[in-house]
């Protein structure tokens, strides 16, 4: 704590005002720690947001267990598995990008960020094919459900949740792609070094959360029996 008092006074005499250190922070470490707490808190809100959908899904499944089992057979487990692998790989490339930003390997940072983006795009492509199939079969949410030949009623509820949960998740992937692109251009510009790589780290945390959500979505939607 007493270090902080000394640093505060040093900061005033410091002529070089680095714009990457905001004026109300005394050190880069303090800024990074604050940023991390902020991002983790934001991730907690995301967990509770998605969590609400998981709770709704769980309770409706308890209400209509047969309908949910029947309905989920329409999902392609292989595509779900593929998407899981794609996201896990993207998590790896993302954390490698953070590592390279911290160790000042600029080219590698850019490569890893691009691969992460590619994985995200691949995920969305697979999703597109899955959605196309559902639309074709009439397996749609709520009042749009038009699939014929069901022996068990209330399957439309499963698809309401399927589209809400994967849809919200997909929106978060899109947002993540935007954030990764922004960080890509900043890295290209040479903004990051071993003292300041906070944006890459924080975007990485967000991206891992998107992966975490899918880690739970995949078994619950695709693999229940």
């Amino acid at each position: 704590m007493s270090d902080l008092a000394t640093v505060v006074r040093d900061e005033h005499s410091h002529e070089h005002h680095d714009s990457s250190l905001q004026h109300h922070f005394a050190t880069y470490e303090q800024q990074m720690d604050a940023g991390k707490i902020g991002m983790w808190l934001f991730l907690a809100t995301e967990i509770l947001l998605f969590g609400g959908l998981f709770v709704g899904f769980g309770l409706m499944q308890a209400r209509y267990p047969d309908a949910f089992v029947q309905a989920h057979h329409h999902l392609d487990k292989n595509l779900g598995f593929l998407n899981t692998v794609v996201l896990l790989v993207s998590s790896f490339t993302m954390v490698m990008a953070v590592h390279c930003a911290k160790t000042e390997q600029r080219r590698k940072t850019l490569v890893y960020l691009l691969i992460t983006l590619a994985c995200a795009a691949a995920f969305l492509c697979v999703k597109y094919f899955e959605y196309e199939h559902k639309i074709h079969e009439g397996l749609l949410p709520g009042k749009f459900y038009s699939h014929v030949g069901d022996t068990v009623p209330h399957q439309f509820v499963f698809f309401s949740f399927y589209f809400m949960m994967t849809g919200l998740h997909g929106l978060h992937i899109l947002g993540g792609m935007g954030a990764i692109t922004w960080v890509f251009f900043r890295a290209k510009r040479g903004d990051f070094n071993h003292k300041y790589y906070t944006p890459v780290d924080l975007v990485g945390l967000y991206w891992h959360l998107v992966d975490l959500i899918w880690i739970y979505l995949f078994p619950l939607l695709y693999l229940i029996s």
């Binding site: 008092a5 604050a34 509770l48 969590g51 509820v157």
Partner: protein, 545 residues
Amino acid sequence: MANHPTTQAIHTPVKEDVSVNYITSPKGLMSWLTTIDHKRIGIMYLWAVLGAFLLGGIFALLLRIELLTPKETIMTAETYNKVFTLHGVIMVFLFIIPSIPAALGNFVLPLMLGAKDVAFPRLNLASYYIYVVGALFGITAMITGGVDTGWTFYTPYSTTTNGQVSMMVMAAFILGFSSIFTGINFIATIHKLRAPGMGWFQMPLFVWGMYSTAVIQVLATPVLGITLVLLMLERSFGIGIFDPAIGGDPVLFQHFFWFYSHPAVYIMIVPGMAIISEVIPTFSKKTIFGYKAIAFSSVSIALVGFLVWGHHMFVSGQSTLASVIFSFLTFLVAIPSGVKVFNWLATMYRGSITLEAPMLYAISFLLLFAIGGLTGIFLGALSVDIHLTDTYFVVAHFHYVMMGGTVIAFLSGLHYWWPKMFGRMYNEKLARIGCGLVFVGFNMTFFTQFVLGSRGMPRRYYNYLDQFQPLHAFSTVGSWVLGAGLFLTAGYLLASLRKPYDAPRNPWGARTFEWETQSPPITHNFDFDPVLLHGPYDYRPERKA
């Protein structure tokens, strides 16, 4: 004005030139609209929430006029349903939830910590603009047809009725993000931006209150967000979760809704208690009794408050087992609040008490909050709740805690920090009269409603039996006394802004950091580096600094 000595702050001339301060510099409208100064953002929030309070209050006065007679007085039944819905929505989402944290908290918190700003100043500004957008959605919903579901939006009525439900729900959804971002900002600020020497147990209790509130904001509000999204989707697309006509469960909506909305009431009251923890020691010239107990009780209320939401649902069809569990937990959550009340009283005992407006409001709080909290316990008992639920008893209970509690505490804090925020002292004599009118008017309006409710008057009813009319009429007259007190308060506060700067650094002789800097503060808060030299409630004879 008070006639007790002003504590010498670290560098305080007797009368200093405060013409350069956060209000006057930098100049221009754009400098306000693009500010990242927490003090300016706090002031912008202040005018916004006061505007919301005015609007919600006008709706309340209209409601009470309608209830003067059992039949139609000034509006139709359909209009009445819309007016009480809008009164609730405005007061809850546009006024009370942001009021203390975003308006007073934003201003005071960094100062109290000895910091230059909050952790994320740009996020702070974003939070304000998100509030404005949400408010605009809400106002649009009001003027394009309104909503008549009650602020609780219960299904299936809300999923099937006409009216601007989706737009109003969208407003609440957007406002939720404003609240979340404020919460994130405060937690990070309190963790990382305390002055040297200020450990967790040297922080003012206001900070503990803000921290606990922020935890609730972060954990609970997202669930409201998803609830509102599900409501909009059920309404538009029939997804099948809440509407019983297509196999959904309306009680599930209530679970989703109250999982946020019960912790939300702690978002409302904990900041109020935080203010009381500052005002009482200052005006008793005595250190707070039981600092750690009060600090931990703030955190306990925040956490245990997440476990009791089913007490809003005792007659909804919720299972008996669940109701019993929720009732038991409701009794538990009252304990930390009780601890605080006793500690505040113990602080006052044998203190050197002076009765300026902030203290008068704080003492009012003690009485009114005690009544409100106690009646909450009555309602938490299952057998009693069967009779009192959905009656005016509930209406009286929550007005005692929200208005008699939070609004009174807000007024206390507003008067307490007014000199710091604007550099002017308000008129103390008028303030005392205003407090008296508010206190008397409030009790006339709402104590009557305990009686009405226990005698069977249902809430949200437009018509009522003739036997209830005398009490309704008395309550309405009370609302006029209350309104008069509030308008008087607004009047002398605004009038004080036309005076030249006359507030010293520390008019109340308090011991927390915000009183060490000029009134109003400079943009960067302090012209020295704050280092903690004494505790926040250290009222022992002055040691040489």
